[in-house]
């Protein structure tokens, strides 16, 4: 099970000074481990996609329900809101089922994403029966695209760092 040497220090085979080759190898190891530990597509991003899609559909749903079934004893906007809230609950639960570690910095960004979503959601529920709903509904899509693009950029940066470290090792080993 234990694949690490417990006696030899990393990059230090008989002295306290790693050679340039050993230093490059350690940098490549650090980049590889750092890239491997967090998941490539964070499960919270899948949740956020569900939340944003639910936001768009719920906003339009409340808007249409308020216009199409006026005066009915059946409260259609309330039904739409309750069903949407059920999906919100499920979307928030999903990341806890996977228990995958979040990439460093994502916890802060997640609060920003969720804060923005919360403001949009509150506005949509309050203004869903007015024409403002037609403006608010697509904003959930914009919010998700911003979040997805930001996370994709972070992932590409991490991959580029790993590839740079790996190529430095290969260059160092070249005759």
């Amino acid at each position: 099970m234990d694949t690490h040497s417990d006696s030899l220090p990393t990059g230090d085979r008989g002295g306290d000074r790693p050679t340039p080759e050993e230093a490059r190898r350690m940098l490549a190891d650090a980049a590889r481990i750092g890239h491997r530990t967090p998941e490539a597509v964070p499960s919270v991003l899948i949740s956020f996609a569900i939340l944003c899609a639910t936001g768009t559909m719920a906003t339009l749903g409340v808007h249409l329900a308020a216009r199409m079934i006026p005066g009915s004893t059946f409260n259609a906007p309330l039904a739409v809101t309750l069903m949407a809230m059920a999906w919100v609950f499920v979307a928030i639960i999903v990341p806890f089922l996977f228990r995958r570690p979040l990439r460093r910095g994502l916890a802060t960004r997640w609060l920003i994403y969720m804060g923005s979503w919360g403001v949009l959601w509150a506005a949509s529920m309050l203004l869903g029966d007015s024409s403002a709903a037609l403006v608010l509904a697509p904003l959930f899509l914009v919010l998700f695209m911003i979040a997805a693009a930001t996370e994709a950029k972070r992932t590409r940066t991490a991959q580029a760092e790993e590839e740079a470290a790996q190529s430095a090792v290969v260059d160092g080993e070249a005759p």
Binding site: S5, I33, T37, P101, A158
Partner: protein, 108 residues
Amino acid sequence: MSAPQHPRFALDSSLAHPVRFSLVAALASVEKVAFGDLRDELQVSDSVLSKQIAELEKAGFVRATKSFVGKRPRTTLSLTSDGLVRWRGHLDALRRIADPGIPDRRSS
């Protein structure tokens, strides 16, 4: 004016051990990680990981948080802010050893 020190003096001795190096490399990229996930990721035994975590906690690198999920104890590990700064300094020293042309960021 003194000559610049060799970058090896900037290496952190706490990270000389391969498991500790890998452990901090894994923690540096995430907010926090469960003990079991880290053990599987690094492919070490519970005892080896526990021992190295204790060393890193003593050195101020790592914070271990104990909690319960139902009745099962759960240990979550994260890097301290000081640990993250020292890890970056260690990587910077390694970069300067790998490529002596890279200037010392601490002096700029």
